[in-house]
Symmetry: C2
Subunit: 244 residues, 2 copies
């Protein structure tokens, strides 16, 4: 946790936060904070700054944090929509965190022929469960703004009815093996990146995505785990946000 994220509901009075549970444990055990210390905090969807530790007890951690203390804006999102075939639940959690950490602005979890049907029943897809992973990703990156996450459990209606709207004003890329064209690096401007499931999108799906304007590009002959493919491709495509 590189940033202690506060929710509006944590404020028991204006300027006064009371924490229990995971975040309070972290303040006690990792920061080993005592009254009088200052902690780096951010408000979900808002600014970042420092809070003053007012109390550390077994029951709660109390912080003093005025709105004026949260004057640092969060880092800008990367202008990229990631269209990802729904990964297996175990991997989903890590990918949600990672995608958030990397500053992706929107994630669409898409069905594909090679996505196991049971994945759509995972409890990890419940909105609260997804949000929990996103928050962990924000805490890691020092960001406060949740990415948008949407589910597209039906491939064809999504590609026909939703994808054209997402693609408006964006360059679309589909990371797909065997196309022979290397995925580009440092692409400027709004992007949409599609990454298939283990085993890849089937030819029908590739065809539909191409018709929607996505350019297929290749990451090489090595078969990557989905998680690795996401990080490698975003690392290539997105210019580092340096000196902000």
């Amino acid at each position: 946790m590189n940033l202690l994220l506060l929710e509006p509901a944590d404020f028991e009075a204006p300027g006064r936060v009371s924490l229990q549970g995971r975040r309070a444990d972290h303040v006690r055990q990792v920061h080993r904070a005592v009254a009088g210390d200052r902690l780096r905090v951010g408000l979900i969807g808002g600014g970042m700054g420092e809070a003053l530790v007012a109390e550390v007890s077994p029951a709660q951690v109390v912080l003093d944090v005025a709105t004026a203390d949260l004057a640092t804006p969060p880092p800008a999102k990367q202008p990229v929509i990631l269209l990802l075939a729904l990964p297996r639940p175990k991997m989903l959690k890590r990918i949600l965190q990672m995608v958030t950490t990397l500053g992706v602005e929107e994630l669409v979890l898409l069905n594909s022929y090679r996505v196991e049907k049971s994945f759509w029943d995972s409890p990890w897809l419940a909105p609260e469960a997804v949000r929990e992973q996103l928050v962990l990703g924000l805490e890691q990156a020092r960001d406060t703004v949740l990415p948008r996450v949407t589910l597209a459990p039906r491939f064809k209606p999504f590609v026909e009815d939703v994808l054209p709207g997402l693609m408006a004003g964006r360059r679309g890329l589909l990371a797909h093996p065997g196309t022979g064209t290397a995925c580009p690096a440092d692409v400027r401007g709004p992007l949409l990146l599609a990454i298939g499931p283990e085993g890849g999108f089937i030819p029908y799906e590739v065809e539909r995505l191409r018709e929607a304007g996505l350019e297929a590009c290749d990451l090489g002959s090595r078969i990557l785990r989905v998680e690795t493919a996401v990080a490698v491709t975003l690392g290539r495509l997105l210019p580092p946000q340096v000196g902000a």
Copy 2:
């Protein structure tokens, strides 16, 4: 497992392999192979091709595989040495696999001020434990050649005595936050990439690495997990090996 990797010791006679344990389970349960099927196999350090399933029984899986069947060369390694501050054991396993999957030719696990001393006592650093993760990475990527992994538990002697030899003929890059120079993309030719521990290399260490010829470069203000930083940076630096 995208490639069933065979060890010389698996051959009970020339051209005949007997498997037990994890790999036999995989053939039975994931491939659901029966006698007469063909499986994609590779020989550790050697070629790749197809084997004929001769027997599937609870006791063993027997494959017929002649040397001539293993005529496909493994993919070329990426000409990069990764110099990585020793990560925490839990992360080490995944990173060993990932680095192997990405085709890194050599990995040096380095001490740093911010590496917890206890990490060096991890059973996951034993040669057999490391090799196990590397093999999983090769199976994922469809490669047969183990990367070289060395340990550098003392920073200063490594940087003074070993690093100059590794740097000969290579461009050296150090991914380090706050330098203000974005890490380059698609670097051609032999590379050495250094990535610090959680919290980064300390200024003394950065100074020594720079003296050794490494250029510091920046991935942006977001704080990435080591695992993510490794994938993102390698994804940027290494041109995809397309159309091999």
